[in-house]
Amino acid sequence: MSLKTVVLGIGNILLSDEGVGVRVIEALAGDGGWPAAVELIDGGTCGMELLDQLENLDLLVVVDCVRGGRPAGTPVALRGAAVPVFFRTRLSPHQIGLSDVLANLELLGKAPRETVIIGIEPASLALGMELTPTVAARLPDLAELTRAELRQHGLLAGASA
């Protein structure tokens, strides 16, 4: 039995490295053949519209840019106690929408059983539709980190037709 899983890429693709979460979703979608229980969502900067899709998950993997004072392009994985801290301290700009959704899910008793944040330190959040070269160069690593997270939960691309 596969775990009901969502990989949610969030960010604004008009603000250069802000859009990195969405770019990872595009890369994973390109792998193809994910188990039916895995949904890949380009969440952009949306909020409450996502409520339905994030209900009663076994695993939520959020991919986003994460500002934590590390050198630009450093990938990070946050889990366990670091997850609520991520939402409290606004390391990324869109937690208002997403944190509201998760808080409402908690109120309904339908919050994800496990949440993991996969992120990368941005180099720039300036206006523009391209990632900076620093972050673009690490995009494959970030996608791989996300795949590894899924693999640990027994979720592999190319496994289902």
Binding site: G44, A103, M129
Partner: protein, 570 residues
């Protein structure tokens, strides 16, 4: 002693919004609204294919994705004088209406009701009495005693852990909170039910838009939904029937819960009909086109001067020169420069986006928002503008629900409450609920229109656009949930040469204009009461009544502008 309060919301998507007020003797004396982020998205579009603009502009804002997609294709179609198939209008209309219904429900229950409803007080309620009260107002099946007891238990469990979660930052126990514990419990029960119901509106947008949360079915020339009654992978009758079921669930909730709750809460807060009047020049665009060209609309729009309904002047078609010639934008108090100087106002087709940041100057430049005007005057836009223009135009559905809502308010308040009470903070909430009831009826009607047209054998959804050589100019307008939205495009030989977005929040949150006249937020906040500057709940009530894009963070600062407290308002 006068005190300065700064309210600094967090969204970076539509541009951070900050509101500063000067309070003296418990009243707001002066207010400033400031956009805190440069939204130069227009510059990204220059040189691109006009057919791609909608997919880019729907990323401008996290809350209003679909509206920017819709209005962008309308702008290009207007520039090309391209008619689209009526089926495409119906499908777009259903997306527009479902999105609007979603937006209104979520705004009321999840983003602003907690300005009026004390969640902690609901714990003290007698759930049976709360249910009896609810049943006296509506026969909604979620008003049972068992349901209300269950909600209170859930709330106790949530609050009992010391973790208020989503309710952490409310102004619980604030002296401006006036509802009884029973009414508070009723509202909390409906808050939870609204979470459940709003998904049906999202599902409609997702199925028609072919993807969620960003739609992908829109195209210059129509929509990319192949229609058929039986084939796979298209909009089949089966899917259309499912959509209709979801519409009926929304219809039930909006009329038997949302509209009733707003009337009841409004009656208990009748004193709030005296605050938040501000600008009474109202602008709205007609929407829900019923023909391919956009000359007939299900919902009227226009301009009302000085709050007088008999001054209503209609906007009649896409590209109506009354609208397109009337809009201009000033930057005297905005962080931009115009080549022709600071005191001029430019038409969006001649719009310039050259930043000049100066720091926050009370009497100088203080905002990244430009200041739009209609024939030189600042406007209020949004559901209230829409409802008043519709009433003035004799729009029957609006009349029906506005009358019903005002009668209910009057009977609960025990005193007659008329249309004039709508020019207020609480009136904007009432207008939004009336608007929502009208929209949900229209949603069902658009479904009928689509089915009837398919029945006639018309399955067309797309007319191919052709880009001639030379220059074309177009404007698309759309009456979005928060008010009139317009995109202005100049195309040169198939490429975008200029693009300007004039968004609803820019109209309402505008800084002072070239004649130093304040924008809608700024004007509506004056005379607003503030009992406790450390907890400026009343200021939030008035700002939230406009439905600014996302939740706010409030920083109250002392004279030296040091933050003394930070509160997030939801």
């Amino acid at each position: 002693m006068s005190k300065r309060i700064t309210i600094d919301p967090i969204t970076r998507v539509e541009g951070h919004l900050r509101v500063d007020v000067e309070v003296d003797g418990g009243r707001v004396k002066k207010a400033w609204a400031s956009g805190q982020m440069w939204r130069g998205v227009e510059n990204i579009l220059i040189g691109r294919d006009p057919r791609d603009a909608w997919a880019i502009t729907q990323r401008i804002c996290g809350v209003c994705t679909t509206v920017h997609a819709i209005v962008s294709v309308r702008a290009v179609e207007n520039a090309l004088q391209l008619e689209i198939p009526v089926n495409a209008q119906y499908i777009r209309n259903m997306i527009i209406l479902a999105h609007a219904v979603h937006d209104h429900i979520v705004h009321f229950y999840h983003l602003s009701a907690l300005d009026w409803v004390d969640v902690v007080s609901a714990l003290k309620a007698d759930p049976d009495k709360a249910a009896e009260l609810a049943q006296s107002l509506s026969n909604w099946n979620g008003n049972s005693k068992a349901e209300f007891r269950k909600v209170q238990e859930r709330l106790k469990g949530f609050v009992g852990t010391g973790q208020l979660g989503i309710f952490t930052n409310g102004y619980w126990g604030h002296p401006a909170m006036k509802l009884t514990p029973e009414v508070n419990l009723l509202a909390v029960a409906h808050y939870l039910q609204a979470l459940d119901i709003q998904r049906y509106a999202s599902k409609i947008v997702a199925v028609l838009g072919a993807k969620s949360p960003h739609i992908q079915n829109v195209a210059v020339g129509g929509v990319a939904n192949p229609l058929a009654l039986d084939a796979q992978s298209v909009l089949t009758l089966e899917r259309l029937m499912a959509i209709r079921e979801w519409m009926l669930k929304l219809d039930d909730f909006v009329k038997n819960v949302y509209l009733i709750d707003v009337a009841a809460i409004g009656a208990f807060y009748a004193d709030w009909t005296k605050y938040g009047r501000g600008i009474t020049d109202y602008l709205s665009a007609p929407d829900i086109p019923l023909d391919g060209k956009g000359t007939q609309f299900a919902m009227p729009g226009g301009h009302i001067a000085d709050g007088k309904l008999d001054s209503h002047k209609p906007i009649q078609s896409f590209g109506d020169p009354y609208f397109t010639a009337g809009v201009s934008e000033a930057i005297k108090h905005s962080w931009y420069d115009y080549k022709a100087g600071n005191d001029v106002s430019l038409h969006p087709h001649k719009g310039e986006t050259t930043p000049n940041y100066t720091d926050f100057q009370d009497d100088g430049k203080y905002s990244w928002l430009k200041s739009p005007t209609f024939y030189g005057k600042p406007m209020q836009v949004g559901p209230l503008a829409r409802v008043l223009n519709s009433l003035a135009a004799g729009h029957e559905p609006t009349k029906k629900y506005a009358t019903a809502a005002l009668e209910l308010v009057s009977s609960i308040a025990g005193a007659p409450v008329g249309v004039d009470a709508l020019h207020s903070t609480i009136g904007r909430h009432a207008a939004r609920a009336v608007d929502c009831a009208v929209q949900v009826d229209e949603l069902l009607r658009q479904w009928d229109l689509l089915i009837a047209n398919m029945d006639k054998g018309d399955f067309t959804t797309f007319n191919k656009p052709v880009f001639p050589k030379g220059e074309q100019m177009g404007v698309g307008f759309h009456e979005a949930p928060r008010g009139v939205l317009s995109h202005w495009i100049v195309i040169d030989s198939g490429k975008i040469a200029n693009y300007q977005c004039v968004v609803p929040t820019t109209w309402n949150a505008a800084p002072r204009n070239e004649n130093d006249q304040p924008g809608a937020y700024e004007a509506c906040l004056v005379d607003n009461p503030v009992a406790d500057p450390e907890k400026p709940l009343e200021v939030l009530r008035t700002v939230h009544s406009f439905d600014p894009c996302l939740a706010c963070a409030v920083h109250v600062v002392d004279e030296e502008r040091r933050p003394v407290v930070t509160v997030k308002a939801v």
